[in-house]
Symmetry: C2
Subunit: 320 residues, 2 copies
């Protein structure tokens, strides 16, 4: 797994030519109240305005473009807590192919209904993402002409999602810190690959819930054991870490911060109030992490990646 090709900046620039015409070039904005809150020069990258409400679509589009070029396939199979599945369902749809997405039994209904409306065959299986993933892999044994898309160990996904970081550095200079949420790690890996070359001074900081710290523990210790997986931020909810993105993060990520679910919830509210936009829990983990590093980032130029908007009415009700 660790000998999979690590995307280069050239790969990402190439991917951007494929991805960019099909997605929304999301704005990067400053909100004075957020600057005050962090006592820094804070900008947010509004991937919560992205089509399908998440940055993940960038990865799906690029992967579908590449594998349709390379392989003789009739469809896609994957597992997802939601946003990655929407991305694959969308990419399959624009490629004129079917998709099967395995999701945990308690998957976010907003994300599930979006996948269904994109034509995906959504299969509820397993109590956790890890069980869903295992089931998707077993399904793919029987469906040989469906391309199994591993949600983490997949260079094309990282290459595709890395395009958001290209947009950041193309539009704003001298970024000191870039905060990206970490579920399996593809978004933060992409941000690290791009920043290392385009803006070497930028420190990329990953953020994860301490209730689902698998990726953090693997990044820190190099050991890939099962971890507790109880976060309410379903976009960050995995009990396993995956070698390929963690390998990239170990080489390139500057720091990794754990935050509590309570801190994430407070950050969803702060972002709702200051940006008047919906940010799902995973995306708000970036603000929670920045608050933890408030001393370090004082007066610095900081980017918070608001990775998605897919929050349910039920989650919102609970928060308010």
């Amino acid at each position: 797994m660790t000998n999979l090709h690590i995307p280069s900046i050239a790969d990402v620039i190439g991917a951007n030519k494929i991805v960019s015409p099909l997605i929304h070039k999301t704005p990067i904005r400053q909100y004075p109240e957020l600057c005050d809150l962090l006592d820094a020069d804070v900008w947010v990258k509004h991937e919560n305005f992205q089509i399908l409400g998440s940055f993940k679509v960038r990865g799906g589009i690029y992967l579908a473009h590449k594998v349709v070029e390379e392989d003789d396939i009739n469809g896609f199979i994957t597992a997802s807590t939601g946003n990655h599945g929407q991305s694959i369902a969308f990419a399959a749809k624009i490629s004129g192919m079917p998709s099967k997405v395995v999701v945990p039994m308690k998957a976010n209904p907003a994300k599930v209904s979006s996948m269904i409306s994109l034509g995906a065959d959504v299969i509820h299986h397993g109590n956790t993402f890890d069980e869903s993933l295992e089931f998707a892999e077993s399904l793919s044994e029987k469906e040989k002409h469906f391309r199994f898309v591993h949600p983490a160990n997949e260079p094309y996904l990282i290459t595709g999602v890395a395009t958001y970081s290209l947009e950041i550095h193309e539009n704003i200079n001298n970024v000191d810190y870039l905060f990206a949420p970490v579920g399996a790690g593809s978004g933060a890996a992409g941000a690290s690959i791009v920043s290392e070359v385009i803006s070497p001074k930028t420190k990329v900081i990953g953020s994860q819930s301490e209730s689902s710290p698998a990726a953090y523990l693997a990044w820190k210790t190099g050991k890939f054991s099962h971890a507790e997986n109880k976060t309410i931020a379903e976009g960050l909810a995995t009990g396993h870490a995956y070698e390929y993105p963690i390998n990239i993060l170990q080489k390139k990520l500057n720091n990794f911060v754990l935050v509590s679910d309570q801190e994430i919830e407070n950050s969803v509210l702060s972002l709702l109030k200051t940006t008047r936009s919906l940010v799902e829990h995973a995306g708000a983990a970036t603000l929670a992490a920045a608050l933890k590093l408030k001393k370090e980032i004082k007066s610095k130029r900081v980017i918070l990646v608001l990775s998605g908007s897919n929050i349910t009415l039920e989650q919102l009700r609970k928060l308010l």
Copy 2:
């Protein structure tokens, strides 16, 4: 007032050259669940992703560009329930001038704090918008070098905000219905002016709360008397109609629908759920109106203008 120049399509195309580089070209998207709900080919224009969370900024930018060119002024005075005030504060700021905005005592605090952070001198005066406006006019008598900006009787504002309709028709053909909210009427007037020329088949439908029906009554009867003003949709809250936009709407608007505050609240929730984005009450009035005309618009291509996102946590809490 009624002999003010009615903007032409050429005026709007000219304004777009000024406005477009400074704003966000907001996406126009389709959500399958909204199509199902209305049984039509529904697209939303996401002005709730616009900078400052409202289409109004387009008007402020164009107005400031024109008056700074024409007049010897040192600043701007206006009255607003919120979004127009943000727009003028922003336009003043990028012109390097001060602004004074009079708002009702109970103005939406999210909008007020945004105005303050843009450098505006915000003056709370009056229980209603109409009282705030009267006070702003009296203030402007004393501040001769401040340009008084009437929030409704002002051709430059209508010309500027009309640019969102240009973006709609540039990006999507054969629009049968375009629903726009009506407070004082500048947005709907702009949409009517543009659609009449660029897409004559498009029926522009205004929508207002039946709890603040001043513009509707003036449009229907030609009489400009005071009306009840109790809507919770502060973006639509005025007890007076204004001759200049109403004159344009009488000539060009195809239909005007009143909806209840309850229908508006339900529509905020429906849009939250289907688009996973924040839409303030005024913007949701378009969906409420489309639901009222469901029979008429069946299977037609429909645009809903989601005019803004500036809803407070308190309003959201109440809704959920």
